[in-house]
């Protein structure tokens, strides 16, 4: 996308840099432009070109990336991930989009930066050697500087221009420009020079990212947003009930539509990862393929075929009714068909699940060894709800499973409010359905009276709900299974008695149509 159609607009404003490639075409395009516009054709060629950041999720919420050839302001409080954003933008540009970049740091020197980014698996020195990256540490020590009359920042311009030209940079990051304000005293000169700097960056045709510290009442402490008017992204780091959540919001994006929500993001070993929003919506494709429940007699209750592939299944019940066992059967069968399963465990570690399921004749370990089954065990309180969602997203993207199990979904409620949880689950369900991933969730209910199992209020999001009950009778517990609902299929409405043996779950009365 980046390669095709450099716009006419750009050629007008950016001139020099692109001229070689397009000079012959430019004239022709300009003359045809008017005609085409009148017909309402080719207008999209006029639209602002985007420069992909390569940061997971950011290109989705900005519909393609940052405004090409213009400066973008990234603001946020200390520790909100500004430097990482800027560096990722430069590094992805250099390594993935063949766009060399210049990173000007006002705070950390090259060695410090190299070390910090090595921990994210990014080798800055390698990129420097390949002439894809220039690191320039601008050192300002106010105590060493005496001001004696008029000056300007041509030194910075020359320096930056030299770095840009030395590698033919297309991307520039300035982190954090505000250091100038603490280093140099004459704010009037600085402001005039900053204005000039941003104009100059535009004429250079580079896509720039400028980071700035968040102010108390304004977006940035020194009002940089006044100068960078094209695109402003706010990074936020909030702690709510001791659980921290990072959020990203696009404050403005001139000349482009953009997502207006606050998007949670994660800083993981892969760097920044924003929750993609492309998955949101109800227009996902559906399939009529079926997938076995893993229990023959239970399949029989679903038309002899099982669940729909890509549907959301919830197994609900009070403690000890066999929810996880149902999940294990499902996983076991899917894996035996060569499908990939991802198991999110929020209650027990993977080893314990494998051991316990072994006792009922379900050998999950073989699938783990074959690489078909992957466990992701986390305490729900380990991170915020949205972070769970982001990290679940990441795991799903990485492992590309056919089947996902969330055991139990009710534990996630602990980490957020009812509203948050529902919003999160909606996103997750939509995402899974987009990918045709069948999801099975277990849900722990407190007592059997809450029979719609909708403690989280997500019953409307699920296609199939199975309820498990324990009923005490004649000094023994009897287990019952009921299909509360199952959209789009002829399912049994019998309450079936079942037992858990060392060979797994056996439905006693058998299934079948009523």
């Amino acid at each position: 996308m980046r390669q095709e159609g450099k716009t006419i607009l750009e050629q007008g404003t950016r001139g020099g840099m692109r001229k070689n490639q397009h000079s012959s075409k430019a004239g022709a395009l300009n003359t045809t432009l008017v005609k085409k516009n009148k017909k309402g054709l080719n207008l999209k060629d006029l639209v602002l070109q985007k420069c992909p950041t390569g940061i997971q999720g950011v290109d989705e919420i900005t519909y393609g990336g940052l405004p090409q050839g213009r400066p973008t302001l990234i603001c946020g409080s200390a520790g909100s991930g500004k430097t990482l954003f800027a560096m990722e933008f430069i590094v992805h540009g250099a390594l993935e989009y063949n766009e060399p970049g210049v990173f000007v740091s006002f705070e950390e020197n090259s060695e410090e930066l190299t070390k910090n980014f090595a921990s994210l698996g990014i080798d800055l020195q390698d990129a420097v050697q390949k002439k894809m990256l220039v690191l320039d540490h601008v050192y300002i020590e106010p105590s060493e500087i005496e001001e004696t009359g008029e000056y300007d920042l041509d030194g910075l311009f020359v320096r930056l221009g030299y770095s840009i030209d030395s590698i033919g940079a297309k991307r520039v990051a300035l982190d954090t420009l505000e250091a100038l304000f603490s280093g140099l005293g004459n704010e009037n000169i600085l402001r005039a020079e900053l204005r000039r700097l941003f104009r100059w960056l535009k004429t250079k045709g580079v896509t720039a990212v400028i980071t700035a510290e968040r102010g108390d009442e304004s977006l940035t402490r020194f009002g940089l947003e006044e100068y960078v008017a094209d695109c402003v992204i706010l990074l936020d780091h909030r702690v709510n009930e001791q659980i921290a959540t990072r959020r990203m919001k696009i404050i403005k994006y001139r000349g482009s539509r953009h997502g207006t929500n606050e998007y949670p993001f994660l800083i993981s070993q892969q760097g920044i990862s924003v929750l993609p929003i492309t998955s949101l919506g109800l227009d996902y494709p559906v399939t009529s393929e079926r997938i076995s429940t893993g229990i023959k007699t239970l399949d029989a209750m679903f038309d002899n075929k099982g669940y729909y592939r890509g549907s959301a299944v919830m197994i609900s019940g009070t403690a000890g009714t066999g929810k996880s066992i149902m999940a294990a059967h499902f996983v076991n069968h899917a894996c035996s068909k060569g499908k990939h399963c991802l198991y999110f465990a929020f209650e027990e570690p993977a080893g314990q699940i494998i051991r316990n399921m072994g006792t009922i004749g379900v050998d999950l370990e073989q699938w783990v060894e074959k690489g078909l089954l992957n466990f992701s065990a986390n305490r729900p309180s380990f991170q915020g709800l949205e972070m769970h969602l982001v990290s679940m997203h990441d795991s799903i993207n990485e492992f590309e499973p056919d089947v996902v199990v969330i055991d139990p979904i009710s534990n996630l409620v602990q980490t957020g409010t009812m509203f948050d949880t529902k919003a999160m689950l909606t996103r997750l369900m939509d995402y899974l359905k987009m990918q045709h991933i069948t999801v099975l969730m277990t849900n722990l209910t407190l007592n059997k009276e809450t029979n719609d199992n909708s403690e989280i209020g997500i019953s409307s999001l699920t296609d199939t709900i199975i309820r498990l009950d324990n009923v005490e009778e004649n000094l023994r517990q009897n287990r019952f299974l009921t299909i509360v609902k199952s959209r789009g299929m002829n399912h049994s409405n019998l309450v079936n008695n079942f037992v858990i043996t060392d060979k797994g779950v056996q439905l006693k009365t058998g299934g079948g149509k009523p």
């Binding site: 005496e146 009359g149 030194g155």
Partner: protein, 106 residues
């Protein structure tokens, strides 16, 4: 009288001041700065200074080494420690303070 003052303030009279003036082209500011510097040196550092003028437009790679941001910038390479003075040097008193020729007062 001037000579006496000099002797009092600069403890080691044999000390050589190595000064570099960074400019970006022949601008009004750079011309003013050079003229001011010449004058100050003649008055206060007679016979013990060296001035090197560096035009960053001609040698842009030199900006990084001496951490030049603003121009004009006067860098005192010697005697140590390194000092940076930015601006057109029109405020003689501050230049003298910046070069440690007169002590910093309240």
């Amino acid at each position: 009288m001037k000579a006496a003052k000099e002797k009092n303030l600069s403890q080691a009279p044999e000390e050589i001041y190595m000064l570099k003036l960074y400019v970006a082209g022949q601008t009004q500011k750079s011309v003013t700065a050079f003229a001011n510097l010449q004058k100050i040196c003649d008055e206060h550092l007679k016979g013990k200074y060296q001035i090197e003028v560096i035009d960053l437009l001609k040698n842009p790679q030199l900006a990084k080494g001496d951490q030049i941001l603003a121009v004009p910038t006067l860098v005192r390479k010697l005697p140590p420690p390194l000092k940076r003075i930015i601006g057109d040097l029109s405020n003689t008193e501050r230049v003298l303070i910046g070069l440690d020729i007169v002590p910093r007062t309240i």
